[in-house]
């Protein structure tokens, strides 16, 4: 009914009200303008900052740091600013990794010139370098600055023969164990896979398990586990149809299903749940990134509580069939191809990765990339894992995770298949074939 009425009187309504409607639309635009101006007025500082691009401002993007730590970060950025008479504007990177990737991808794929230096991880660097969004740095960063960093960490920043990133943070998977629990059983830290199994069997009792494995699919954590064990078997995670990969994957499976030294819920375990299990003594050993458990080390300040007042220690990785290497990760500075201030950005990177800056940022808990800074007693006091990282570095144990433009996809492919294998859904051969087929496809795309 209403529709019929409308049709009958359309022309009258139309001719009489269109002018008024346009007038009203004008008022609407005015209201929109007012609405736009209101938040702008309330954030005048932001507007000024936006207008100051390319006017003595260097735009850098870095991890979000809590307010308590921001002062130290500012001191590094402002220190550089004072030296060169400019302002360093610090933008926040999202905390969650997928959001970080989405944001940086949106910025760089848009050719955004409002970003000069970007703090990036080892996964995104080759991807963005391949896309042509990053500036090669080997000719703008002094050789001695690069030489001060572990060659393996530099390897993780180099792609297709070009250095695209100067690391300012370097970490590695360290072999953590609950010293109190091992002491109670009269055990020392295992030195080989065999000793790991033996110790695990002794430690597995009363709801406690010998070792933790992050077996959850889709988190990159299972990929790290696979890369860690395959490395010790002498293989490479991009090549699964090898004896080394079969040995490593079988070993992971056996720790869960045959030796039963890893919890049965391993296929759903992640870093967060395993951290709590380790803290509560429900797992006794766990090779994981240094940062994850550093809060429990005896020299951590403030130290997080360990159930029953137990103690945490770090040992060298138990040796696999071939070696006792471990995987390394790193974050560092890159320069956007679209930066209008590349020269200054390079100077900034040199400053932000200097020993002084790294020692300052270490107070925020950032493990330095420079080998010499890792041995600084003040740094070791501030970053509990620094002294272990220094020892690992000295023994050349850490090596970078695979560098491909699509490492995240490789990780997803491996995790999906290995998780099914750990869940007894498919056999080892099926898992290897499935994952390798996907890896090959991804590599061809890359």
């Amino acid at each position: 009914m209403a529709h019929a009425d409308l049709t009958n009187s359309t022309s009258q309504s139309d001719t009489m009200s269109r002018g008024d409607l346009l007038h009203q639309a004008g008022l609407g635009v005015a209201a929109l303008t007012a609405g736009t101006a209101l938040p702008g007025l309330l954030s005048a500082g932001t507007v000024r900052a936006a207008a100051s691009f390319s006017q003595g401002t260097l735009n850098v993007m870095y991890w979000y740091v809590p307010a308590a730590q921001e002062q130290r970060l500012r001191s590094v950025f402002d220190g550089f600013g004072k030296q060169h008479g400019l302002t360093v504007k610090y933008s926040l990177e999202p905390q969650s990794y997928p959001d970080f990737v989405t944001k940086i991808t949106a910025y760089l794929s848009s050719g955004y010139s409002g970003l000069d230096a970007i703090w990036q991880d080892d996964f995104t660097t080759p991807a963005f370098a391949t896309a042509g969004w990053l500036e090669p740095l080997e000719h703008v960063i002094p050789r001695e600055s690069v030489a001060a960093i572990s060659p393996e960490v530099i390897k993780g920043s180099t792609y297709n023969g070009h250095l695209y990133r100067v690391p300012g943070y370097a970490g590695a998977v360290l072999f953590f164990y609950r010293k109190d629990l091992l002491d109670k059983e009269g055990l020392h830290a295992p030195r080989t896979w065999q000793e790991l199994v033996q110790a695990g069997k002794r430690l597995t009792k009363g709801g406690r398990y010998g070792i933790g494995i992050a077996g959850k699919n889709g988190t990159t954590e299972l990929f790290n586990e696979v890369a860690y064990y395959i490395g010790q078997a002498g293989g490479h995670p991009l090549y699964l149809k090898t004896k080394a990969a079969r040995t490593a994957l079988t070993f992971i499976y056996d720790m869960v299903h045959t030796y039963k030294i890893a919890p049965p819920d391993t296929p759903t375990a992640d870093y967060t749940s395993l951290t709590t299990s380790f803290q509560q003594g429900r797992i006794a050993m766990w090779p994981v990134w240094g940062g994850v458990l550093s809060q429990f080390l005896p020299n951590a300040k403030p130290q997080s509580k360990i159930a029953g007042g137990g103690t945490v220690a770090v040992a060298l990785p138990p040796r696999g069939p071939v070696n006792n290497t471990t995987i390394a990760d790193s974050w560092g500075w890159t320069i956007s191809k679209f930066s209008t201030n590349k020269e200054m950005a390079a100077k900034f990177i040199e400053y932000a990765t200097s020993p002084h800056a790294e020692a300052t940022l270490a107070l925020n808990g950032v493990a330095p990339a420079r080998v010499a800074v890792l041995s600084d007693p003040k740094v070791q006091q501030a970053v509990p894992v620094a002294r272990y990282l220094a020892v690992y570095d000295k023994l050349h144990l850490p090596y970078p995770r695979p560098l491909t433009p699509l490492t995240q996809r490789v990780s997803d492919a491996i995790e999906a298949s290995v998780n099914k294998y750990l869940n007894n859904q498919i056999s080892l051969e099926a898992a290897i074939n499935e994952a390798q087929q996907k890896i090959d496809q991804i590599q061809r795309m890359g």
Partner: protein, 293 residues
């Protein structure tokens, strides 16, 4: 004797049937409520439980030692006041302006016949269904050109732009349900367009406008993806960004669930309170749209 023997049996049969019917009615409701409220309860539980007790085995469904430690941590980690102010400004301004604009646009679509009106209406509607990620790069390029990245005014324009298509669609259907005779009677009395709009249309639409304002306010308050991309500093960060800032530290690669839950509550409580206070108006507004015709 026969009667006394039969009656109890029928009664028993009826009782069983009634019981079965009652069970069939209530069991899905209870299950639905459990599924709906379990995550909310879990957030509350996690917010008031210190992280070292959160994953304690066996799980405790009632906080053994309730604590505000997660809230304290959140206030140290996240610039709450700034983010609260930003979220309030953005959601209130964008909800208000989107309602004003959608009213005018919807009136035009509902009452005026102009060439291509149906196509424009359809295009507008379809633009609302575009996935955000598909539009983000061109939008970013435009905003970069106009220096609108990392500014509240930029976010405001984005919020209004994303709220408008659906709002116009809803409002058009509301306006189409207003009897045209009301406006014609006003015209006969000599009222011009602004008077008709102000004195006739808006009073009839008031419940719908209030409802739409609240829905848009809540949508803008909960928006996460746009600030993730277009906000670069604390000065423009919203509370939804604060949830992730409270939860994750990239160096530690583990999630601080307690902090995340506490920050989640900080975000939920104001909109929950608003929804509770204006519950009657929201339902009335929605029912008005459903019943008129």
């Amino acid at each position: 004797v026969e009667i006394t023997q039969v009656l109890p049996r029928t009664h028993r049969r009826l009782s069983a049937r009634t019981l079965l019917r009652t069970l069939l009615f209530y069991v899905p409701i209870v299950l639905f409520l459990a599924v709906t409220f379990a995550p909310v309860y879990w957030i509350i539980l996690s917010a008031f439980t210190p992280i070292d007790q959160l994953f304690h085995v066996p799980l405790s469904y009632i906080p053994q030692h309730p604590s505000l430690i997660n809230f304290q941590t959140v206030t140290q980690v996240v610039p709450l006041a700034q983010q609260f102010l930003n979220s309030t400004i953005l959601s209130v301004c964008s909800a208000a302006i989107s309602v004003v604009l959608c009213l005018l646009a919807a009136y035009a679509f509902a009452r005026l016949r102009f060439p291509g009106s149906q196509v424009i209406f359809l295009a507008l509607l379809l633009s609302g269904f575009l996935p955000g990620v598909a539009t983000i790069i061109p939008l970013f390029q435009i905003f970069q050109r106009f220096n609108l990245v990392d500014s509240l005014r930029g976010l405001f324009i984005l919020y209004v732009g994303f709220l408008l298509p659906t709002s116009i669609w809803i409002m058009t259907s509301f306006i189409r349900q207003i009897p045209l005779e009301l406006e014609e009677a006003a015209q006969v009395d000599g009222a011009n367009f602004p008077t008709i709009l102000w004195r006739v249309v808006i009073p009839v639409l008031r419940p719908a406008l209030a409802t739409l304002f609240l829905i848009n306010l809540i949508t803008a308050w909960d928006e996460f993806f746009l600030p993730v991309i277009f906000s670069r500093s604390s000065a423009t960060a919203t509370l939804t960004l604060g949830i992730t800032q409270a939860a994750v530290n990239p160096q530690y690669q583990s999630v601080a669930w307690g902090n995340e839950a506490a920050m989640g509550l900080v975000v939920i409580v104001p909109v929950f309170a608003l929804a509770m206070i204006f519950q009657k108006q929201i339902v009335e507004g929605l029912m008005a749209g459903a019943l008129k015709g």
